[in-house]
Symmetry: C2
Subunit: 373 residues, 2 copies
């Protein structure tokens, strides 16, 4: 019987749209021997994760935990627990992930009201206001950091508009959380989800989420069962935070260890220091890229620090250069998605991948490849 070869991947520098590099302490946490998922010591670790996630989301929401699957399952969790067949949901679409939300809303049997912006631009609050003048959706959903376009979406004004119209405000913070300010309570966010593999710098596999008391009320008033058993929070929340923890599914223990350690690293650094580090390295990267003739897709005031979406200068081949970066320099950057496939790159400086050294390495390698090209 054949046995596959030894696991021996090449060491890479991860500068794409995620996963990002993972700190050795997080890798070490992953190698911690397992304990049971209902062991009192594991319950304490879950409590620590919940407490640190509240600090990271800047929220007092009791229902703050990590869904046992990747960020897209977090998106699905946030939508399927709130929406019921026949509901309406306003979804802002300015890239791949707004589109994905629309798709999930429809799978809930709910009606999508779309507010679009051209790829590379943020959503205009006036367009949301206008759409709400002729509809009464249960929620307004928007992506804070559109990983497909590099756009940093301002949230406060749209949050106000949503609440004035009696809608819950739902935010995708997959790429922003841990790398830029996310203030769930101050910004009136009712439902928010993220992923572990971007600025939190843990491996992919969990999705941090948080629900306001108002969102929890809406879930408790449902008339129908949530369509997903695995993501049904009426059961999952009893496992994460019931007075007596009730078995639902077996938590991905090693992933929870990793998230726990990654969150500790975040608070040892301090949120403000961490955000400043992302801004500082963004400026360093931006100056280097612009010097080489790259243009950013978003306007200066809407650029994400951690995800730099730039047009590939004419005369250069997307796949060829990315292959050379990977094979000759072990640096991974991301290609364009959707409208931007073949035309743009997405350069991530997220979490543990956000260092001066990473930026220097990438710029130097790009200069060599592109000048020689």
């Amino acid at each position: 019987m054949s046995v596959s070869q030894e696991l021996n991947p090449t060491a890479r520098y991860l500068m794409g749209p995620g996963p990002s590099d993972v700190h050795p302490r997080v890798l070490k946490a992953m190698a911690t021997p397992l304990i049971g998922h209902l062991d009192p010591q594991f319950i304490e670790i879950m409590d620590g994760v919940m407490e640190m996630l509240r600090l990271l989301f800047r929220t007092k929401n009791q229902l703050t935990f990590a869904v046992s699957a990747t960020g897209s399952a977090g998106m699905e969790t946030c939508l399927v627990n709130v929406l019921e067949p026949g509901d309406e949901a306003l979804v802002c679409v300015h890239g791949v992930f707004g589109n994905r939300m629309s798709d999930i809303v429809e799978r809930c049997g709910a009606k999508v009201i779309r507010v679009d912006a051209p790829w590379g631009q943020p959503i205009d609050p006036h367009a949301v206001k206008k759409a709400l003048s002729v509809s009464k959706p249960k929620l307004v959903a928007i992506v804070h950091a559109e990983t497909s376009t590099g756009v940093h979406q301002p949230l406060q004004e749209i949050s106000n508009i949503a609440h004035e119209n009696g809608a819950l405000f739902l935010v995708d913070a997959v790429t922003s959380l841990g790398g830029a300010d996310v203030r769930a309570d101050d910004w009136g966010i009712d439902i928010i989800y993220s992923g572990t593999q971007k600025c939190i710098s843990a491996p992919p596999g969990l999705s941090p989420v948080s629900f306001s008391p108002r969102a929890v009320q809406v879930m408790e008033k449902r008339k129908t069962k949530v369509q997903s058993w695995y993501l049904d929070l009426s059961m999952v929340r009893k496992y994460w935070s019931g007075a007596k923890r009730a078995y639902h599914h077996t938590a991905p223990i090693s992933m929870i260890y990793a998230l726990y350690e990654a969150l500790r690293l975040i608070f040892e650094e301090g949120l403000e220091n961490r955000f400043e580090r992302h801004r500082r390295n963004h400026v360093l990267l931006r100056d280097g890229l612009e010097e080489m003739g790259f243009e950013y897709i978003p306007a200066p005031e809407y650029r994400l620090p951690m995800l730099n979406a730039v047009k590939i200068p004419s005369g250069f081949n997307d796949a060829e250069i990315r292959d050379r970066l990977l094979n000759e320099y072990n640096i991974e950057i991301g290609g364009g998605l959707g409208d931007f496939a073949g035309k743009a790159w997405r350069i991530g400086i997220m979490g543990h991948s956000c260092t001066e050294n990473h930026v220097h390495m990438l710029l130097a390698a790009l200069r060599k490849i592109m000048n020689a090209g």
Copy 2:
């Protein structure tokens, strides 16, 4: 800002219904630095996982891979991709996990036809035959190793009955796969799922699944979208096995590393040797338990080797003894679920937890606690 304490769980011996102990080589694999989820080297690792899972399920099914979430999400994947609103599904229920399948079937908008057996007994093929004489379900679903009762369900006869009636045959092999024989092709299984944290002895977080060409055909003929975006195989399969791998979600890379290494260990040992080890240690455990006055719940011919469900002798307190085992001996065993809560124990000898030493330790600790009690 407070920072949670260092991650420092006590070393445990995991002899409950899962997770099981994890081999140091699997822990080491988890600590491997990450590469991108579309890196050509990662695609090779995915291919290796698919190839080894085919050997483990004993199948030629092309669509054999690991769902990016725990075993219950595997169960959901198998049902939601096949069932559509208005369909009928026959679900055999002889414990917690048959019940869970029924629940998911209903969430698909499909009608459940239940065939029940008393907890602790297997499903009677005649009952399935009788139910199929007055119904025409799309699938017949059954649990191979009922973790809540310790019953080892024979499958061949029920498989034949399902196929004679034009139904797909769906099997839950969460607890059996890797510890007892599972022959997807020989037994005519169309859809099968498992978990990583039982006899495969990787951490929880992935669910190996396999679909026969006939099951794939049924999925391809769907008239409605799968209700779950995250688990929709029409997209997921393009990521795992498309000619050009298409981004769907970000795979849980470190978990895939762990599964890869756990599968290598299985084939280094050899399937037959591994099954024999589970049988041998089951006999050792059984003899010791019976000597102490324990009675097994299932009849001798229906006992699982890896999951030993026994009645707690009268005069002994469930929680107190399990607490002492955990706190004084660092041994975890499982309490009863559902009908058996407080009345039974579930003792797992799964994968890396299935050694003579584990059995000796547990028996000796139990003797001390129960004789002193």
